[in-house]
Symmetry: C2
Subunit: 335 residues, 2 copies
DNA sequence: GTGAAAGCGCTAACAC
DNA sequence: GTGTTAGCGCTTTCAC
């Protein structure tokens, strides 16, 4: 790697002159600036990032901790984060917690030693289940800006980007109700997560608010993605009067559709189905699933914007929770 | 952040003593070592990564450039890379080229300035189509170790991790032939990519080698994922004697299955289907798709192992191409 | 208009 | 057994 020193030697000037020249300082003569810049170009000089980081105590790098990159939702958020970070001149350094509390703690510690300027993360499932948060407080006490997305915890004093899970589910349910559905079942594979709980609440409230709906709320918690298909099938076999489905995670909506088709249930005539996200499987079903779009990419971008803003201003800005709007996208599985 | 200097002041010793004590140097008395380590623990001292990087000219960070994180195959490779890197004490700094040549060049330049010790990457589609490779040579000339995976180019002198695409397709095709299929069609959405070309060659060779197979090779190139479904449907409507399908990308296999089922073709009795990868959609079809497993996670881990090995030894080791074995996993869409 | 020197946090060769 | 010093590559204050 070519350094300022090498340029200085070649040009018979001092290192500081070279540095100033490259930064276009008014102190340096146009003549010298020109000579320096030309040589720098020719020798393909690039300032050493580590030296800059050390000097400025800024890394221009964002630490991102994602619970599960194989989950399409998180992949999309990461996509948004990377795009916006690059746009703003930041690198991202990515760690995967794989839903493990320990790995999350390690990643946080690993990065909090001068590797990054701040964090963007979603809590691991285990962290949410165990209701841990001290490790985040440690980071915040060290004055690292932090933005949480999707899986958040109100007790942690940091900025947050979430979708309005309650209303998203409320509106989706209301749509089913307005279609005249009489027995609407909610399917969830994420009842341990904050977002899952909120979506269930939204569903329940919608049913209660809709005069004329008489059935009780009906929540089916599926266990794993492998068994989900069977569990949903069993539900359909037991209860033959279900006419509305709200799948609040990535996969249950699609699975409901597959199961309905296998049983020759006419979707959407005799049964309406709405899922969350899962856009990666859209091309594979017919009719295409109606979904609540979570705007994952926008969420990632928003998180970066908030973080970079915090990074720029010195004094502590008040923290806030930002809502990304959702859209109910009606495709083929609803009327 | 607490520094060596702060510890030194508190203990009334010099910075170097603290440094040596923390590294357990034999020069320092047990007594002092104990005092230093205790205070360091208490004050939660962590060595500054940037300073270490600058000092050692090593970052312990790997630059990863992925063409498309929303592609499940690449997400899995990234998963493997992250896991193994963490295991070996390395960070990864991730850039997404989004299949763009320019973005790939930028990412490379952006990271080659002291941010990373080496690279792991797969070429962007555009880079493969344009047959560009000078930007990689530039990096290699700077003595950065580099490992390419999946999408590689023989003309680039670096280590490579690939699957044996030719034989993977050859074996899958041979399986269909042994089932007695008489008209086997290959579906591809990746005919521009090196891996796509190799897979087509494997398919063609298998047909030729199998005595008694009379039909000509039949390759359908689909245009986009959105139109693929229609294009495959049109094929099925035109040619009613197709009894074998090899989908060599992420999605065409599943789409063939969906289309076959819509036309009441009995899979696998009257038509066999084999796809590549696409494990994320497996839970959604019935029967489940038989696939060539690409061992994406293993590929990622292997790439990290090779790179870290290069990083450790000083002298230049000979480059080689490593093959990750594939497995033909028969599920429900083959006999 | 240019250069010398200090310092970001750390390590290591070399005193003492 | 401990301290001094120089230096990794860079910026910036202060001299000249």
């Amino acid at each position: 790697m070519v350094t300022l020193k090498q340029l200085a030697e070649q040009l018979n000037v001092s290192v500081s002159t070279v540095s100033k020249a490259l930064n276009g300082s008014y102190e340096i003569s146009d003549e010298t600036i020109k000579r320096v810049k030309e040589l720098a170009d020719m020798m393909n000089y690039r300032p050493n990032k580590m030296a800059l980081s050390l000097k400025h105590s800024k890394t221009f790098t964002i630490g991102v901790i994602v619970p599960d990159i194989l989950n399409h939702f998180f992949a999309k958020v990461l996509y948004g984060i990377e795009q916006e970070a690059t746009e703003l001149g930041y690198n991202i350094i990515t760690c995967l917690s794989n839903e493990s509390f320990d790995k999350e703690v390690n990643s946080l510690e690993f990065l909090a030693n001068g590797s990054v300027d701040g964090f963007i993360l979603a809590m691991a499932e285990e962290t949410q289940v165990l209701e841990k948060s001290e490790h985040f407080d440690t980071i915040l006490n060290q004055k690292f800006p932090m933005v949480m997305f999707d899986r958040v915890n109100d007790s942690i004093a940091c900025d947050k980007v979430i979708i309005d899970d309650f209303n998203a589910a409320y509106n989706a349910t209301t749509h089913l109700l307005k279609e005249g559905r009489r027995k609407i079942v909610l399917l969830t594979g994420i009842d341990e997560l904050s977002v899952g709980k909120l979506r269930v609440k939204g569903y329940e409230k919608a049913l209660k608010d809709f005069s004329g709906y008489t059935a009780e709320p009906f929540v089916l918690k599926v266990n794993t993605i492998e068994t989900a298909n069977t569990e949903i099938g069993a539900l359909f076999d037991e209860e033959d009067d279900i006419d509305g489905i709200l799948g609040i995670d990535n996969s249950t909506g699609v699975m409901a559709l597959i199961n309905a088709q296998k049983r020759n249930i006419n979707v959407p005539k005799d049964m309406s189905i709405i899922g969350f996200s899962a856009s990666n499987v859209l091309p594979f079903t017919d009719p295409k699933l109606s979904t609540v779009s979570q705007n994952a990419i926008k969420m990632g971008k928003k998180a970066v914007n908030i973080l970079v803003e915090k990074l720029k201003v010195e004094e502590e800005a008040p923290i806030k929770t930002h809502m990304v709007e959702t859209k109910l996208i009606l495709r083929g599985t609803t009327l």
